[in-house]
């Protein structure tokens, strides 16, 4: 399992990315000096790595919530470096670790879905919830198998974390996406909800054939789901396996790799 950089023609591409936090100050942290990642279309990539390895920063660079110092970021052939976060959201969907971030708690389930259904169109003065679409929303909610289809008039704030995260995932994938980003999206949930959400993720990704980038601390999920696994360490890719090599991977291989890295660090 040699360290290698996958250089397939990338549908999603991060090339020669440089990122330094707090440059010029005592808190300066050089994270990425020359980071490269290519993801082919329809690939489901799981990303693991210790804290501070650059996983979340990589997602933030893609989404635009943190700007890169230099380099090139492309999705579907278009350069998105100059696009603002909300402009990138038109074709990137993101589910956060915090379940409350993916929905509007004050609005009802129905209103949340109606808003998401309208993504990419104009938000004008027409009625917020299109009555003709309610049955469709119900049928999508049935997919979750959480009984939410009978609670569509309840504010999202009254749902549990697991229910909210399942809803956030559904909402995020309602309109066509070029890239789905899952930012430790099961980390804040109890084990059972976490399983439910992970299963749902797999079903939705397969149903819609989504190009997906999933950051997780759960090694079982990283091995069990997705077509490719990447391990990050100190702003570099130290492991990149896909296909049969990935299927043959065990949790122990990953923990061994983690240990190897920590020894290199002198811990």
């Amino acid at each position: 399992m040699a360290t290698q950089i996958n250089c397939d023609t990338g549908f999603v591409g991060l090339r020669h990315i440089k990122k330094t936090f707090n440059p010029g100050s005592v808190n300066e942290v050089v994270l990425f000096t020359d980071f490269n990642l290519e993801i082919p279309k329809n690939q489901f990539v799981a990303v693991v790595g210790s804290n501070g390895s650059g996983k979340t920063t990589m997602l933030n660079l893609l989404c635009g919530s943190v700007p890169a110092d230099s380099g090139e970021i492309t999705i579907g052939g278009r350069d998105i470096m100059r696009l603002k976060e909300h402009q990138r959201s038109k074709f990137i969907g993101r589910v956060f670790q915090d379940p409350s971030k993916g929905t509007c708690p004050e609005l009802t389930i129905l209103e949340n879905m109606a808003l998401a259904d309208n993504k990419g169109l104009s938000y004008g003065l027409s009625r917020g919830v299109n009555k003709k679409r309610v049955d469709y929303y119900r049928s999508r909610l049935e997919l979750l198998r959480l009984g939410l289809e009978d609670k569509i008039h309840l504010p999202v704030a009254s749902l549990s974390g697991g229910q909210r995260q399942a809803l956030a995932l559904l909402i995020c994938t309602m309109t066509p996406l070029d890239l789905l980003i899952l930012d430790e999206h099961t980390a804040a949930l109890d084990p059972r909800s976490s399983e439910t959400v992970m299963e749902l993720t797999d079903r939705l990704v397969k149903e819609k054939n989504l190009t997906t980038l999933m950051v997780t601390h759960n090694l079982k999920y990283a091995i069990g789901y997705g077509d490719r696994l990447i391990m990050l360490h100190r702003g570099g890719i130290v492991l990149d396996v896909s296909g049969e090599n990935k299927s043959a991977l065990h949790t122990k291989d990953l923990t061994d790799k983690f240990n190897e890295i920590s020894i290199e660090d002198g811990n």
Partner: protein, 301 residues
């Protein structure tokens, strides 16, 4: 008895007039969570614009609309300062509030008070002429209630549109608006425009009722509007069937009632603004206590 009825009528009239402003401030303060100080400047803006228009012979109902638009424009300035130039919400409000002083003086041609007695206002022309005999004394109340209810209903309608839902999300969870591919900042600007538009509209109605505009009439409007919003939404906190916009109008009436009662009990007029601040403080503190209790209950569940 007549005195009491007169007092009640007076409270209701003023309650509804300031209620127009309060529903606007509800949008900025409660929906968007922005304490907007520019209303102290946009309230007299509405009054001054109205005075200038009515003196020029413009239809008083048109004057209401134009006052709303001017207020909304000023609100946009607050929004642009805050969202695009990244000045804090409080400072952006103060900047607009201060600049309105000059704007208002320009509009009034340099005088602090502009009178327009015997000119057509919404209270003495058009449908107001229909109120005859005993009804005449009630015409102001009926008209201000009408304007206030229409504004409230329009806002309720707006909050259910796509734009309205997005506005509510912008206050509740800006990240969600971003994930929908929209800029929450734009929604804040729209909200501030609506809030200040309503405030200027209230200023216009008050000016038409008094048949004069005073550039100093804005002092304390923030406090009054926020107090109405907080009192109203707290009283009807448990009553789910009462819309927040309705609650806010009740809050405004109640607040006015407190002031009038204090005056009737012999509080000298000089203490009015102090009293306004005290009532507001009480409302804020109770709001905080209720909020904390709610949180504690939430944890124990």
């Amino acid at each position: 008895m007549d005195i009491v009825i007169g007092l009640i009528r007076n409270v209701l009239e003023e309650g509804f007039i300031y209620g127009i402003m309060a529903v606007g401030v509800y949008i900025t303060y409660r929906v968007l969570d922005l304490p907007d100080l520019s209303v102290d400047g946009t309230f007299p803006l509405g009054a001054c614009v109205t005075a200038a228009l009515i003196r020029a012979g413009v239809n008083p109902w048109c004057a209401l609309l134009i006052a709303f638009i001017c207020g909304a424009a000023a609100g946009c300035v607050t929004g642009l300062l805050h969202v695009r130039l990244r000045i804090t919400d409080l400072l952006s409000g103060i900047l607009v509030m201060i600049s309105m002083w000059s704007v208002n003086l320009v509009i009034t041609g340099g005088s602090a008070v502009v009178q327009f007695y015997n000119k057509a206002t919404i209270f003495n022309s058009g449908i107001a002429a229909l109120f005859k005999g005993d009804l005449r004394v009630w015409r102001v109340l009926i008209l201000v209630a009408l304007v206030c209810v229409v504004v409230k209903l329009l806002l309720d309608l707006y909050l259910r549109t796509k734009s309205g839902l997005l506005l509510r999300s912008a206050g509740d969870n800006p990240q969600y608006v971003i994930s929908l591919g929209r800029d929450p900042g734009t929604m804040k600007i729209i909200g501030l425009a609506i809030g200040n538009g309503c405030t200027a509209l209230a200023g216009s109605v008050l000016a038409q009722q008094a048949e004069s505009a005073n550039i100093q009439s804005g002092t304390g409007m923030v406090v009054m509007a926020l107090a109405a919003v907080i009192i109203g939404t707290n009283i009807f906190r448990k009553a789910r069937f009462v819309k927040a916009t309705t609650a806010v109008i009740f809050g405004s009436i109640l607040y006015k009632a407190c002031l009038v009662i204090a005056m009737q009990l012999g509080l000298p007029t000089n203490y009015l603004k102090l009293l306004m601040a005290v009532i507001f403080t009480i409302a804020l503190v109770t709001n905080d206590m209720l909020g904390r209790r709610k949180k504690q209950n939430g944890h124990s569940n």
